[in-house]
Symmetry: C2
Subunit: 492 residues, 2 copies
């Protein structure tokens, strides 16, 4: 195990496999559904169990109260002054209902079938969490001089509502030099992918009231302004619903275009339009070209309407002119766009277009994050994934917005990257969720190698190379945070 | 009473006042709420009670099954061969909840306060029904040679779903030469108004499906077509929601413009924008000019959106791209417009604009009706109202669509007019609904005079003058129906 070569890693992993499986069973069989108040005790219980595991492998661990479900904070200490790498995973899971969703076995029993582990949480995210931890143990056993910290959350599936304030409160004890998240899936079973960027988000609520009560379209129709119609008119002024193009002047100004290298990584990611349609149960797309679909979902900003409240929502027709209506909409943001500036542009345009419309800029606006593929953490992930799975990963993106990523970048003031282990047929959020030993074994190898690779670069290279990316916001200024501010700006 | 002069009518009415009030109490205290299945027995009971009343004044009456709530069909027979005038009213009422609506007294107790009769149904439509009946009794007592028929419906408040088939089934027994409806309110307390036209209606449901399940806007947003957005785009292509102008080519082609005389009648109707706002609880109008508001609501066609179903309707934001959406909309139609042609224009335009949209033309399309103010029935109403209330009525319109009017015009094949008795502060469909003796007394005088006036014109003038208006559709061809077809077309 000393050399951390592939064969040694594999042999080490086979030796701990029974332990890995015992712990996976123990964690999966605790139904830690964070969205279900009746399961609160289970979310706390899974954190305590995980703490026991961390201590059993020689680490320190404590269950931290957050105001919501608790979080497990752990550490496998390296030598004094060693660089600190934080592994982020989560221990809470999606709900599961065997009959309603059509599971083949009990969701909260770990069942081995056809060489896979079935059960809610196997792939999202308990299996990958254990792989990351065992990878860290392997690295420590091989004498890699890195302190590995653990942030295992209990509220990821409900949007991490208490993560930011908890990290701020914990202060020095969660200080770190980089974070790696393992909580996403590859696009195919054969090409490893790494999530190298997320879109940002800014929500809007547009409201218009033209009366005190819904009126009868026979009596008032033609003379009274219809708030549903006027909000439709506003939506069509803000964007073209057919093409998706946003019409607000200046909206696209700050969007950073994809580089040729990013496009090339997208092309070899294994993405197909057919799988995209099937996995998301969508049929009618704005483009049939795979690269355009990837660009549209991963790298371009949108204005999207989510609902128009008001009038008659029941079956058939009821001839009302409603007194009020509310349009729910939001923008996904591309790297470069500032949520506050987009909010001001959209709200200003809307108010000028229809001065009677009340515009509420929703809280929770979040910028896009983009992980520079030349970042040392990214370079280490690339090496580690190729080492473990025999194929260089494609750095792709995800069109969604993960609040935890933004919070960690901002508060911890360091790079936040991904090392994904789940496969597309692992049933993320669906029935028959599963994980499998080859991905766990590869994950152990990948994390062990990542820790060594990143630690070596960190110890050897200029400290500035590991500064937070430009996308990170203003957090509390700890020592690393100050280093970050002195660092040279990376080119986009 | 012989001469039917105003003083004689007044004296006659005062003599029957106690009877009128006793019957008004009896009918109002039967809670004949047609929309409430628990009140079915009461709707049947009110029809039986009304039959008893008709027989008590020397008429014939029978309660007719309709498949829904029964209808009272009655007759005060004139001499053989006398012209037949039908009085249409309804005995069913809106629901009433004392606490929820804020009534000052029990809705289903007749309470006399400040010289008025309070109770659900007093003005809509039991009080006017009794006034019309007593007017007919007065005319008969004065020896006017007209057969007065009664159609007292039990389903007006729920859209008269069984009226057409019941009239068809009754055939010869409901044959008539004209119908007068008393079921509307004046615009002010001082200027009598007569409803001389109604708008037509044509409903539409537009549907678009782009996927099998709602998707996450982070994952698919930008690439997947958004059916909510595309239906908003369609709505904005069909009309301008700000001005209300319909953009479908040809939509306005057949609209008959208002005549100078109709405009003049509108101007002296007592209509004010202030009262329109207050009565309908609307605030923001497309015009502040009273004549324009009247034209927009009474005489111009519309395209109105009533609801857009799909996506997130709950509080706050949920970032979905819905799989499907449905736009509910309808057109009010002006005289001259054919619902079938409008349906074809709108549906064709929508399909060309977005070929994936499924367009459902709703059943129940109905043309506008316009009562020619030179029609002998209209002339008789004008004389009768001025006789009773001391002021010539303004012939206005109503922007709504009353299915019963269209059904009667079509099936009975004769003119259908209005003689309205309610006042704007009578609380139509609201709390503290009320009626008052001066309107009842005036109504008795007006109906007595109408019957005499119309009967005299009918007996003296050319039969063809009483033919159905052009707006009536194709009904079963009875004798009057055939006469109608031979009648010269009136100018619009």
């Amino acid at each position: 195990m000393k050399g951390l070569d592939r064969a040694a890693c594999r042999a080490w992993a086979e030796r701990v496999r029974a332990t890995y499986e015992r712990w996976l069973r123990r964690l999966v069989e605790i139904p830690s559904v964070s969205s279900d108040p009746a399961r609160s005790a289970d979310v706390a219980r899974v954190a305590r169990a995980a703490g026991e595991l961390v201590r059993s492998v020689g680490g320190r661990a404590r269950v931290v109260a957050t105001g919501g479900h608790p979080m497990l904070v752990g550490e496998l200490a390296g030598p004094p002054g060693a660089p600190r790498l934080t592994l982020y995973n989560h221990l809470d899971v999606q709900p599961a209902d065997r009959a309603a969703e059509g599971w083949s076995s009990e969701p909260f029993r770990l069942v081995r079938r056809r060489g896979r582990y079935f059960g809610r949480g196997t792939t999202d995210d308990k299996g990958p969490a254990l792989a990351a931890l065992f990878g860290a143990v392997a690295a420590r056993d091989a004498g890699v001089p890195v302190t590995v910290k653990l942030l295992w959350e209990g509220e990821e599936e409900i949007g991490s509502p208490h993560l930011a304030r908890t990290l701020r409160r914990l202060g020095r004890s969660v200080e770190t030099d980089a974070v790696v998240i393992s909580d996403s899936a590859w696009l195919t079973r054969t090409v490893p992918t790494v999530t190298a960027g997320l879109r940002g988000w800014q929500g809007f609520l547009f409201r218009l009231e033209t009366g005190d009560a819904d009126a009868h379209s026979g009596i008032v129709g033609g003379a009274v302004r219809n708030p549903l119609g006027e909000l439709m008119d506003l939506a069509c002024a803000l964007h073209d619903p057919r093409s998706g193009r946003v019409k607000v002047p200046g909206f696209y100004d700050d969007v950073r275009p994809l580089t040729a290298r990013e496009r090339e990584e997208f092309r070899r990611s294994g993405f197909t339009v057919r799988a995209f349609r099937r996995d998301n149960r969508v049929r009618r797309l704005r483009s049939a070209d795979p690269l355009e679909v990837m660009e549209r979902t991963w790298a371009r900003p949108t204005f999207e309407v989510h609902g128009l409240v008001g009038g008659h929502q029941g079956p058939g027709l009821k001839a009302v002119v409603p007194a009020r209506a509310e349009l729910k909409a939001s923008c996904r943001l591309a790297p470069g766009q500032d949520p506050a500036r987009v909010a001001a542009l959209v709200a200003g345009f809307a108010r000028r277009h229809n001065r009677d419309v009340d515009v509420e800029v929703a809280p929770g606006g979040s910028p896009a994050t983009r992980w520079d593929p030349t970042d040392p953490l990214a370079a280490a992930v690339r090496v580690a994934v190729e080492f473990a799975f025999g194929r260089a990963p494609a750095f792709v993106r995800d069109g969604g917005t993960i609040g935890a990523v933004g919070s960690m970048r901002e508060i911890l003031g360091c790079p936040v990257g991904f090392l994904d282990l789940s496969l597309p047929d692992h049933g993320y959020h669906g029935p028959d969720e599963n994980f499998e030993w080859p991905q766990a074994e590869g994950g152990i190898a990948a994390f062990a190698r990542l820790i060594r690779e990143w630690g070596a670069a960190r110890n050897a290279g200029p400290r500035a190379r590991l500064a937070p990316s430009r996308a990170s916001g203003a957090g509390p200024a700890g020592p690393d945070r100050r280093r970050a501010r002195e660092a040279p700006r990376r080119s986009p």
